[in-house]
């Protein structure tokens, strides 16, 4: 005897309570409030039953319950089953029902007890669909669901809902005829209506039985709103009350999916491919069609349809997923259900129906946070269930060679993430209406409940993934917890949080520094201590700076978890976490909405390539849990493909040419102290990935092409074009951003050389680029803050007003340009030695050409901002804020120290690289570094250059001692007022002649290419949605056409 044997918890109450409650409401008379209280009470009871049972099934080991109505076993009476899956789904359905009732409070009180009765019947009918094992009974519950749905659609104030409800009834008539005819023929073939009995009789395999099954199957699948037979559902989503749409999307969808799942049991494995085919087609098509949507609820409708399709596709993979099926299918389903319910409820708080109207949420951080969580939940980002499900799904699909399906799943998911994050960008960045939305408790509560459920499920799925598959619960990862902790601390003033963040980064390094090999140590240093130094700049911010610290720390959590990752799962999880964090960070910039989106889409695309690469690698290595070191053992033919996928994925992060278009906007439009974080630090994640890749997989050949040689070319071209694009920028931060692209090209080139010094050079670039790019971004950001512009020709002559910023920029560009005496020279020196060891001449020549071009933009940077005439309106400009200058000065010191004693960082790494490339190591003796081609003495160089500089400077001072300072206004204008003032400024279009010569190389070919790709997708979506012309008869025709097409294609 267990506690669940209590009569009050009997599963039949799930049906009896709904019906009984509805009847009771009928007897109640016109006391709306009492009726409403009764409704809530009944629903709460209906929530408690499955919740308690769920506990009993999981913790107390209760067996599944078989309920024989009329006391007779089937086929003479209907039986119900109530096991773990039913309890979980019933809990989902009834909880959604309860919170929907709460959200619908006004509408229900307005319509009176009849509406409440219909709601109870709807929830009861869905429970019946879940529990029943009888096919005809299933039909009855479906019809009840249809009728109650058609009733509840009318709760909406939107008059168009009337049409939508009728169209729904129209189509469901066709569906029910199909279902009934199928059921009776199935009965004829097997002599039973019991689902398990039919399964035992192999209905799907018998001659006439398979046609009967086909009818039943398609009728039930039609309830999942498959493409293209789903116009009716979209109309309901758009026009119904959002409270009801939440139920329709989350609960009805879940129940219908479970019905199809039960049915697949009857059909057997022969029907699985059909389910997958319908599911994946729907998933991809609905997501493409969602792209051009402007109405929030219709968009959610498309997304609902897509997610349901994905679950159907997963159910269709049951043959290979096996035991993992519930974990994956439920993972996607609950993510979808919770997120969709939450989003529909949220949409009830937003007055306007355009996506951009969600800007109303901008002033409500908690709701905005909920919005962000729901979107992450839908996009399958860590730590939410969809992430774990996505990972396991990819593993199995790759292992079984179903790569086309994997590709389609990832494509659809990417498109979906694209429109969801675009929407989030609108909410955060578009102009908020003057009045913020009213948010009564009964409408806020459901949203918050969904939010809580999202995190509870994240925990649960993490726990399950650790228990079932030997992965781990990401919510137990210390860095992630630390980042999430800042959500709770967001009420603190910014400087307190900044101190905590810096303390956390330093503390984490002290805690873990012993764990790393020398290579990882360099990256860990940059990610933790480097981050801490950069964060010093954030002390300048006042107020609370809501949202900054959770995002920043989320990015850092991802970064340190990336360095710590030993296996592919943790590596990928860290990768997605840092992507998510940096997206929120970039999105904070004033004008950064489109750039943040482009960053996110490219990054997620790259992440999916990495996911596919790892899955393929795990399949090739034949291990359930792929460790990064296992990549070493990969052989042809899989190894080169893994290499390609991973390299492409990592190169989206390093912005290799062709995948770079997100970077300039994202880095330039970010806030002053964010730019160094996402440039100096974040870009290194991609390089780290490439390091890991090359260390383990080494050179690979695909169709006769040496892939590292291809990388060499990519690196060289990236360096050339990045630098070339940088010299033509008017915007100082954009200039720096393009310069980063070029610098990453150098690093990629060094890595692809695949020799000792090449790697050392790449590592030197990792360190150098972090220091000088962070410093330059801060310096330029500080100048931009003071001058109010980022366009260089609007500045000029700031050397005296901002001397510290000038010093930082001066040191920075000396270091970057690679002239002696600073560390950039060391990089060059190692680089020249490295290419002596290699025989690819042409890319080398290209890389050489990139060098002088870098001089051009660096010269422009310092010359235009700090030298020349001071603008009149800038006469009162002060030095950059103290806290923005502090890290710059620290970086200056670091550069100088690193220039004198590079061995400090490099020596250990040099020795470590020798384990991969034994030959070509450098000799480190005292201050002298020797290669096989020459030597480098940093101290001597420093002294020599210092002496030369001092001499020249003294001489200049001497010869110019009588020079007269020319002030701005002792020039005579020729009485013309230029039409566009900037065109007369010497610093505008500074390198016009070069543009004439080489401008053809800077045509935005890549931007146009990706623009065309997105345009094509949008056009496809726009054409596709014309199918839904609003005519109910056409929708019915779509359904019949769907049946006929599936019959000929799949039957």
């Amino acid at each position: 005897m267990t506690a669940v044997d209590s009569l009050f918890l009997h599963p039949i109450l799930l049906l009896a309570l709904g019906l009984g409650g509805a009847f009771l409401l009928g007897l109640l008379g016109d006391r709306a409030r009492t009726a409403y209280g009764l409704t809530l009470g009944v629903l709460a009871w209906m929530v408690w039953i499955p919740a308690r049972w769920l506990w009993a099934f999981v913790q107390e080991g209760a067996p599944p319950q078989e309920i024989f109505t009329a006391g007779t076993p089937p086929p003479f009476a209907i039986n119900l089953r109530f096991g773990l899956e039913e309890a979980a789904l019933a809990l989902l359905v009834n909880l959604t029902g309860l919170f929907t009732a709460l959200h619908l409070k006004d509408a229900l009180l307005g319509q009176g007890r009849r509406a409440m009765a219909v709601l109870l019947v709807a929830v009861m009918a869905l429970g019946g669909i879940l529990l029943t094992r009888d096919l005809f009974n299933l039909f009855v519950f479906f019809e009840l669901a249809v009728i109650s749905t058609a009733g509840l659609v009318l709760l909406s104030r939107d008059e168009r809902a009337l049409g939508a409800g009728f169209k729904y009834l129209l189509v469901s008539q066709f569906i029910s005829v199909l279902l009934l005819v199928g059921i009776i023929f199935a009965y004829h073939a097997t002599g039973t209506l019991n689902i398990d009995g039919m399964a035992a009789a192999n209905l799907g395999l018998t001659q006439g039985g398979s046609l009967a099954f086909f009818f039943i199957f398609l009728a039930l699948v039609a309830e999942l709103k498959p493409f293209p037979a789903n116009g009716w559902a979209l109309d309901i989503y758009e026009s119904a009350h959002p409270g009801f749409s939440a139920l329709f999307s989350a609960a009805t969808g879940a129940a219908a999916l479970y019905a199809v799942d039960k049915l697949l049991l009857v059909g057997g494995s022969a029907w699985l491919p059909l389910a997958t085919g319908i599911g994946i087609t729907t998933f991809v098509a609905a997501n493409i069609l969602a792209l051009p949507q402007k109405n929030d609820r219709r968009l959610l409708g498309y997304s609902s349809i897509a997610q349901t399709g994905l679950v159907l596709a997963v159910l269709g993979q049951r043959d290979i997923l096996g035991e993992a099926t519930p974990f994956i299918a439920f993972g996607i389903l609950v993510s979808h259900a919770v997120a969709k319910a939450g989003l529909f409820w949220l949409s009830g708080l937003v007055a306007g129906r355009q996506l951009t109207d969600w800007a109303a949420l901008a002033k409500r951080p908690l709701l905005l946070f909920a919005f962000a969580c729901f979107i992450a939940l839908l996009a399958g980002l860590p730590p939410f269930p969809g992430f774990y499900a996505k990972w396991e799904l990819a593993q199995v699909l790759a292992r079984e060679g179903r790569l086309a399906l994997l590709a389609l799943v990832l494509l659809g998911a990417l498109i979906e993430a694209g429109y969801l994050f675009r929407w989030f960008g609108y909410a955060l960045k578009r102009e908020a209406p003057a009045t913020s939305p009213t948010c009564p408790a009964h409408k806020a509560l459901p949203v918050l409940a969904a939010l809580a459920a999202a995190w509870a499920l994240a925990w649960l799925w993490g726990d399950l993934s650790a228990g079932l598959f030997g992965r781990s619960n990401l919510l137990l990862a210390l860095p992630l917890l630390f980042a999430l902790g800042f959500l709770l601390l967001d009420w603190l003033p910014a400087w307190v949080k900044n101190t905590l963040a810096i303390g956390g980064l330093v503390g984490f390094f002290l805690l873990t520094w012993d764990d790393y090999d020398p290579l990882r140590l360099i990256f860990a240093l940059i990610f933790t201590l480097g981050g801490a130094i950069t964060l010093l700049a954030s002390y300048h911010a006042h107020g609370r700076r809501i949202g900054f610290y959770p995002a920043t720390l989320l990015m850092f959590a991802g970064l340190v978890m990336l360095v710590q990752a030993q296996d592919a799962f943790h590596f990928f999880a860290a990768w997605e976490l840092l992507t998510l964090g940096s997206y929120f960070l970039i999105l904070r910039g004033k004008e950064s909405e489109p750039h943040a989106l482009s960053y996110m889409v490219f990054s997620l695309g790259g992440a999916f390539l990495i996911l596919a690469g790892f899955a393929l690698a795990a399949a090739g290595a034949g291990v359930p849990n792929l460790y990064l070191v296992d990549l070493v053992d990969l052989v042809e033919p899989i190894a080169p493909w893994v290499f390609l996928l991973l390299a492409l994925g990592f190169m989206t992060k390093t912005a290799a040419i062709g995948l770079h278009i997100w970077l300039p906007g994202a880095h330039a439009e970010a806030e002053t102290d964010v730019s160094p974080l996402v440039s100096g630090i974040l870009l290194k994640a991609g390089l780290f990935g490439l390091f890991v890749l090359l260390m383990t997989l080494g050179p690979q050949t695909l169709y006769g092409v040496d892939l590292t040689h291809a990388l060499l070319w990519v690196g060289a071209l990236t360096a050339l074009l990045g630098n070339l694009l940088a010299i033509f920028q008017e915007d100082a931060k954009r200039l720096l951003a393009y310069s980063s692209i070029g610098q990453m090209g150098y690093a990629l080139f060094g890595l692809a050389l695949m020799n000792h010094l090449g790697w050392l050079m790449a590592l030197l670039f990792v360190i150098n680029h972090f220091i000088y790019k962070s410093m330059l971004f801060l310096a330029v950001g500080g100048v931009a803050k003071r001058t109010g512009t980022r366009e260089m020709y609007r500045m000029g002559g700031l050397i005296k007003l901002m001397p510290l910023s000038f010093i930082a920029v001066l040191i920075g560009i000396i270091a970057m340009s690679g002239v002696p005496p600073l560390s950039g020279f060391g990089g060059r020196w190692i680089f020249y030695n490295a290419i002596m060891d290699h025989d690819s001449r042409l890319p080398m020549v290209i890389l050489f050409m990139a060098g002088p071009i870098a001089f051009l933009y660096l010269f422009r940077l310092i010359h235009t901002i700090f030298l020349g005439q001071l603008k009149d309106e800038l006469r009162r400009v002060k030095e950059a804020p103290f806290w923005i200058v502090v890290p710059q000065m620290l970086f200056v010191v670091m550069l100088l120290v690193f220039a004198v004693v590079p061995g400090l960082a490099l020596r250990q790494v040099d020795a470590y690289i020798s384990t991969f490339f034994p030959t070509g190591a450098l000799q480190w003796e005292g201050g002298l570094i020797t290669s096989q081609y020459g030597y480098w003495n940093p101290v001597a160089i420093m002294i020599i250059v210092g002496v030369i500089f001092a001499t020249l400077f003294a001489w200049l001072l001497f010869v110019n001692r009588r020079a007269q300072m020319v002030k701005q206004f002792n020039i005579v204008f020729s009485a013309e007022r230029p039409y566009r003032p900037e065109t007369t400024h010497f610093a505008w279009n500074f390198y016009a002649p070069y543009r004439k010569a080489m401008g053809f190389l800077t045509q935005p070919f890549v931007t146009r290419f990706w623009g065309t790709v997105t345009d094509l997708l949008h056009t496809a979506g726009d054409l596709g949605r014309r199918l839904y012309d609003g005519n109910g008869q056409h929708y019915a025709f779509h359904f019949l056409a769907f049946v006929v097409i599936v019959f000929f294609v799949g039957f």
Partner: protein, 121 residues
Amino acid sequence: MPDIAQMALATGFLLILIGFYGALTHRNLLRMIVAFTLAGTGVNTVIVAIGYMGGRTAPILDATVPAAQAVARIIDPLPQALVLTAIVIGVGVTALMLAYALRLHDRKRSLDIRQFTELKG
């Protein structure tokens, strides 16, 4: 000479097809609803025709049919009951559709399905 069950079956399917054809070709909401009741009748005819299993006896448990052999010898009464249920549900849905048609007519003074296409795309 086809037996009665087959004739009923053919009639039932014919009714379904007529109903579908009507529902897809008529623009008038009321005509469409009538078409659906035709199709519904067709379905019920089909169920009755199919539900009969040759060679078995009525589902009455008595001396001639002991409960132990019932499964093999009687006709499962359920399918016959299905028709009743289906009819009841059909009435409910038809009533609901008529109510909808009434409200739609109130709104636009028209029963033409093409009038109600504000929601699309």
